[in-house]
Symmetry: C2
Amino acid sequence: MDNKQEDRRIRRTKKLLKSGFASLMKEKEFKDIRVKDITDLVDLNRGTFYLHYNDTYDLLEKIENEVLDDFQTMIDTYRPQVDGHSMLPVIAPIVDYIVDNLEVCRVLFQNKTSNDFWEKFQKLIRKNGVSMIRMTYPNYNQEYLDYFFSFVTTGILGLIKEWFDTEMRLPKNELVLVSDKLISATATSILNKNSTC
Amino acid sequence: MDNKQEDRRIRRTKKLLKSGFASLMKEKEFKDIRVKDITDLVDLNRGTFYLHYNDTYDLLEKIENEVLDDFQTMIDTYRPQVDGHSMLPVIAPIVDYIVDNLEVCRVLFQNKTSNDFWEKFQKLIRKNGVSMIRMTYPNYNQEYLDYFFSFVTTGILGLIKEWFDTEMRLPKNELVLVSDKLISATATSILNKNSTC
DNA sequence: TCCATTACTCAACATTGTGTTGCTTTTTTA
DNA sequence: TAAAAAAGCAACACAATGTTGAGTAATGGA
């Protein structure tokens, strides 16, 4: 978006720091990653890190927010195509995105850090999902709806995590289908039986 | 279990450190908790901490494992009562346990640390759950079963987290019912439709 | 092409928290 | 009550942090 706002050097440096960080996350735990580890890996001065991030938590958070912004953009783009029965039109591009940004997404979805990303992801899905459900079931009990969304969104996060944990053995399109199936199965079983409670 | 194995002073000290830690987790993030914070709070020497734990991560891990051991014991105790259709006989005592150990369980289920507890909890449920499912569906595709379990177990974890996040407003027995309902809804919709794939 | 701007480098620094040690005091248990 | 073991205490070296000031190099607009 702000592609021309930042100095080319800054873009380059940030990209290096982020990719170095993601790369280190394959080898060691988040808590064991030092600023020096990152800057050594990508050949930058340690001080340079602090020109852009406060610490490794800040770096992680910035990465999280960038991905989440992309997700929101995709939801806004593809939601109009959802027909109410299946979430496929939205799920498919999101899974495509994950595949296109594997290294970073692995870090976020496998979530060996703190569950900030999971939490924010859920908020995003819930925000967008509640408004859709309300169209069909305007009076459904809000508290139950909250629990429903907690269940489904964490469930999907667990699904994607499982996918990474198993080296992405399941083909991408099957992951999409399984996700959609589980979402609609849960939704219909809950929404239809208790639409008045 | 080893109630009489450990010196009374050790029992007291460990209990103090664990409760102090759980108490601090209400105020601040895990990463901001120093060993000195804990020992100051419960009036112990900082060095004493290191007689029992390597660091705060180690302390957290020990807490996790104790709770998980209790869960396994409860599953072993109550599983014989499960009739195949509902998980209520197992879910209910687990939720009771959570209520009886609120402070510690809040830390583990709200999971603002690293998702080690979630991960171990899932492993435990999966281990016990797969063997039950196999009785009824011996030939169900293993890979799909894995995804099903990832979905359901993280879903339930999300449910419990939601419960803590909303100050446990939902009555305990309703939480039990919602959990059971979501589990069996997901299970039946998946297992019945695709028992051959 | 030049020049002002600004990002990055480098070395040094104070600070904080860690994990350990040797010795003393207190508590436990048999 | 005595031996054993845990907790207190003070001091230590160490690692990593976050910041600094001054010099160097790259950038992008005129």
